[in-house]
Structures are given as C-alpha cells and as structure tokens.
Symmetry: C2
Subunit: 324 residues, 2 copies
C-alpha cells in the first residue's frame, strides 16, 4: 500500500473560513474555523488564511501536506485560480491561487464551493462508488455538480452544473439571476420564504398557525417555520410543501433525463429540514422520468454535511497536484 | 501521414435505411438508400442491410472498411449494442450488433441516432474544433447530445442527452413520455402542430390565412404552414412563432446553465424552416443565461443536414473499434 497523502482543504465562505488537514481517505486530522471579515479586504483575508495554514502545519509537524485546495462561492478560472467574481466575498478578479501559493510555498487549486462539496460526497460520502452522479444542494439557493463517467463536468467556462438556473416554469417568478422561473426561484430557500410570506399576507386565517410559530412576525416565517407547521398538521404548510416538492421533482426529472446519472445525492438545509422530502422526490422521479434513464437510479442524502467542503477541496487539491 | 481509414455508416430509421462508405475525414464515397420495411420483421431488415453492405463493398473493392457504425432511434445498451426498444421500428431487445457482425464479418457499433448525428456535426460539421458542445435537433420531437471536455456524455444507462424531456413548464401540457411541460411538448413539431390546430379551431377569423394555406383542412396545418403564414405577415403565425421561440430560448438557457458549452449546434426541420429563429434564440440566450456561462458561447446551425447520421455513425464505429 502506498503512503497516505495529506492536503489542506479550505471552505472559504462569506461569513466564515474553515481549514482542515485531510488525508487521501477523506479523514480530517485537525481543523480551524474563523470569521472571514471580508470587509477588511481580500489581502487581509488571504493573510489570515495563510497564517492559519501555517499554524495547522506547525501543530502537526509529522504531516507534510502536499497541496492546498479551496472551495469558494463564485466564478473561478480553472487553471489560474482567479476569483473572477464572488458576490458573498465581494471579490472581483482576485488572484487567490497565485497569492496564497506565494505565501505558503504550497501548490494551490481552487474550485467552486458546490463542486468541492460534490467531490467530497463523491469520493468519501453518499456518492462513493458511483461514476455517474449528480449532487443537488437545496439551501437558500440551489447548487449542483455533475460527475459523468468518472469526471467532474467543468464546461467550457468552468461553469457547468448551475442547475439552480434551469427553467422549470417559463411563466414563473423572477430569479436573482435576471431570468424567470428558475429551479431555485421556485424551490430554493429564498423562494420558499417569498411564497410563504405572500401566502400568509394574503390570508391571515389560513396563515394563523405559521404566524403563531413565528411569534406574529411575518418576516420571520421561512422554510423552517413550514417544517414546524407540518408537524402540527397545518394545511397551508402542507400545501406549500407540496408545491416546492413538485418543483424539486420536476427539476430532478430534468436532470435525470439530461444527464442519466446512476445516483443523485441531495443535501442542504431544505432537504435536511423536511424528513419526508427525499422519498417524495424519489417517487416523483420514478413516476415522471424516462424509464430507461431512471431504472438504475438511486436517490440518497448527503452524508458529510458541513465537512463535505473541506474534505472535497482537499481531494481536489490532491487530484490537481497529481496531474501536474 | 497515416493511411486513411474507412467505415460503413448506417442511419437506420423507421421508414428508410441509409448506408454510406465514409472515410476518417467524414467524406462519403458511395451510398445506398432503401425502405426499412420494418413490418417484415427485424431478421429481414438486418438481412437486407447486410446485403446492401456487401454490395457497397463489392462496388468499392479498393476500399476495406474497418467497422460498421449504426445510428438507431431508440434505447441501446452501450457495449452489447442491443436495441432495447425502438418505437419507430417496433423492435424489442434485438441483438443487432451481434447478428450484423456475424453476417458481415465486421465489428459493429451501435448508438442512438441523435448521438450519431451529433458526432457527425462535432467532428466534421458545425461543431468542428469545439470540445464542449451541445447539439439540439428540433424536428417532430426534440433530441440532443452533449459533448463535454471532448467526450460524448453517455450517462449510466446510455441515455444522457434526452433534452427533449427537460421540464420547461411545470404546468404545461402532457408529453408523449407521460410527464408534462417537457421541452418537446412545447416546441417540438408535434406540439407546434397541436397548438396551431387548437388556435385555428378556437378562432376561425384569426386562423383564416393559415386555413387558406392548408386548403381549408385544419388537419393539414402544421409548422410549415406557420412558416408560410409568417411570410404573409399573418398575426396568428407571428404569435405562435413567438411562443415556441420563447420555449426554445428557455430550453437553451437551461442547457447553457447546466452544461456550460462553448457551442450549440441547432439542426432539424423546425430550425431549417424558420430563417429568423436561430438569431432570436441566440439573442434570448445572451439575455437570459448566466453571463459567466454564455459569454464565450457561439450558436450555429448544423451543416451536414441529412448526412450527419451516416457520417457520425461511421466515425463512431472507427472510434469504438480503435478503443478495443
């Protein structure tokens, strides 16, 4: 057996940065978490990150990480690792790969945060063993990543997998992206919040239970409130859940028919918050997708939860480093 | 330079079979076309095909084809080349690859007819030079095929690329596949025909010009009639064209966001029948797709027309044969 390899995996988010020392089996040995403080500017954020990496390395002197991998929410150029744009960090054209490599002396690889999480699930989580899988994360928005024939789909501009922005309802509501009726504009957390708010405003009687759960404040009602309402057998909660479940089914069917995966891994707050959701989606896919495309399909929940980002970023770094 | 290689490319359709002798530059040297006569049973169809292959080989004795490639409308198992189901031929579990290989003594590779056409366009037609492209054929139905990072996407069950069955309108009309609001159920030729028929039935006054063009027979009105109506500046024709154009834009945007191609090649009767359609689709994509995904995108029309099937099938055969 070959010697185990180690990498630094980083989940660089808008509010916090998580850094972990991860081996090539996806095992985390040590980790650090600290606030991003993106308002202090990208140079400071990168310096803090480099400092934390050095600390982790000093505290684990018997381990020599081979590379650093970072998952960032935003558009990234593939080989040069430039953050073209990250709305969460408010970064434009930041040469993260180059700067951090200089400061640490280690090779750095950067990918989209959803891709990093998908790689984590693929190699060490719920996707393990499948070469044809799609990850769908349903949180505030909907993000995804596609592995086809054992390869992560990048697309020409490194943007493939933006499944939150496939059209599900050509006559649907506006999306943040400028288009309308997108998958996430109907079933992402922000869309669910918009819909429940509108429904309660429209009819305070049917919205009574949800309003009570939110202590009378409409602005506090969101997907979590609906999940609580479901437990109380609230009719409006049932109806809203049925609506976004049908959208999640339609989006999943599109993905199954277009990509023909063997496995779909679902993760994210909405999936975790609604216990019956996964089986409803699975039933819906089996009913509505093309039989030839769906008859070997397994629908499963993500396993790594918050660790998928750092574990996947580390794996991405080791794979990128190996290629060179 | 290496010696040129030849293969037999076959487009096996429900009404006709086209056989061509094609080299590894996509050049057709000789061809035959004859009716499928699928009602005589699969054995007869395969025997006729084998006979035609032998004739073509005898008439071109200086050329030794290395392999046979066939494009068939239907579901095909990848390595064994069994036609699991072909609605056009009414074939179930026909071991086409095995039987034809025995009868001809040549290695046989089989793929879906849309994939064969896409391979043709990719290697020798409008997709030449791009490693990230999508072919969208809008005819009676909508078919597609995806090339990502220089590889044809197969999917786990060899079904990837069924983009005619991505959902565009979750509240839309029934599709032949059993689902509703599919891309082809809104913008395929059969859906356009359904919509124009309904519109003319509903309002004979606004449908007057279309009815005249169809010599008074509602059943004869179809997409071609709408194209003629457009030339006469008919209002209903304009409106119907706008409707299906918007659907073609929405479907293309979904594909651009999900796959991130560098090029989209559009082909098929609907695309060829409406001269302004391509540029309207291109404008719509640039307006509605994610900028990062679409800013390098080129939208082009298929070049090989009816030859894409045989040329692509031959290329598929040479590539499959090389791998073994």
């Amino acid at each position: 057996m070959s010697k185990e390899k180690w990498a630094i995996g980083i989940d660089l988010g808008g509010t916090k940065i998580e850094i972990a020392l991860v081996n090539d089996k996806g095992k985390i040995k040590d980790r650090q978490r600290f606030p991003t403080d993106s308002n202090k500017g990208y140079k400071t954020v990168i310096e803090h990150t480099a400092k934390a990496i050095k600390e982790i390395c000093q505290q684990n002197k018997n381990i020599q990480p081979k590379a650093i991998g970072i998952g960032v929410a935003g558009q990234i150029t593939k080989d040069t690792g430039i953050i073209k744009f990250s709305p969460n960090l408010n970064w434009h054209n930041v040469k993260l790969q180059e700067i951090l490599a200089k400061q640490t002396g280690l090779p750095v690889s950067i990918c989209n945060d959803v891709k990093a999480a998908a790689i984590g699930e693929w190699l060490y989580g719920a996707g393990k063993g499948s070469n044809d899988m799609v990850c769908i994360f349903v949180g505030t928005g909907i993000g995804g990543s596609i592995i086809s024939n054992g390869k992560l789909l990048d697309g020409f501009n490194n943007t493939a997998g933006e499944i939150g922005h496939i059209t599900i309802d050509i006559n649907g509501p506006k999306c943040h992206c400028g288009n309308k009726g997108c998958f996430e504009a109907l079933a992402g957390g922000w869309a669910i919040q918009r819909d429940v708010e509108a429904a309660v405003k429209k009819n305070k009687t049917s919205g009574k239970i949800l309003l009570q759960l939110a202590e009378g404040k409409i602005k506090n009602i969101n997907a979590k409130t609906i999940a609580e309402g479901l437990k109380l057998k609230d009719t409006l909660s049932k109806q809203l859940t049925e609506n976004f479940t049908n959208v999640l089914i339609a989006g999943s069917v599109s993905i199954v028919n277009a990509f023909g995966p063997q496995r779909i891994v679902f993760g994210g707050g909405i999936i975790e918050g609604f216990p019956g959701l996964l089986s409803a989606i699975e039933k819906g896919i089996q009913k509505n997708a093309l039989k030839a495309a769906s008859n070997s399909l397994k629908v499963v929940t993500a396993k790594l939860h918050n660790d998928s980002g750092v574990v996947g970023a580390a794996a991405y770094a080791l794979r990128s480093h190996k290629k060179k």
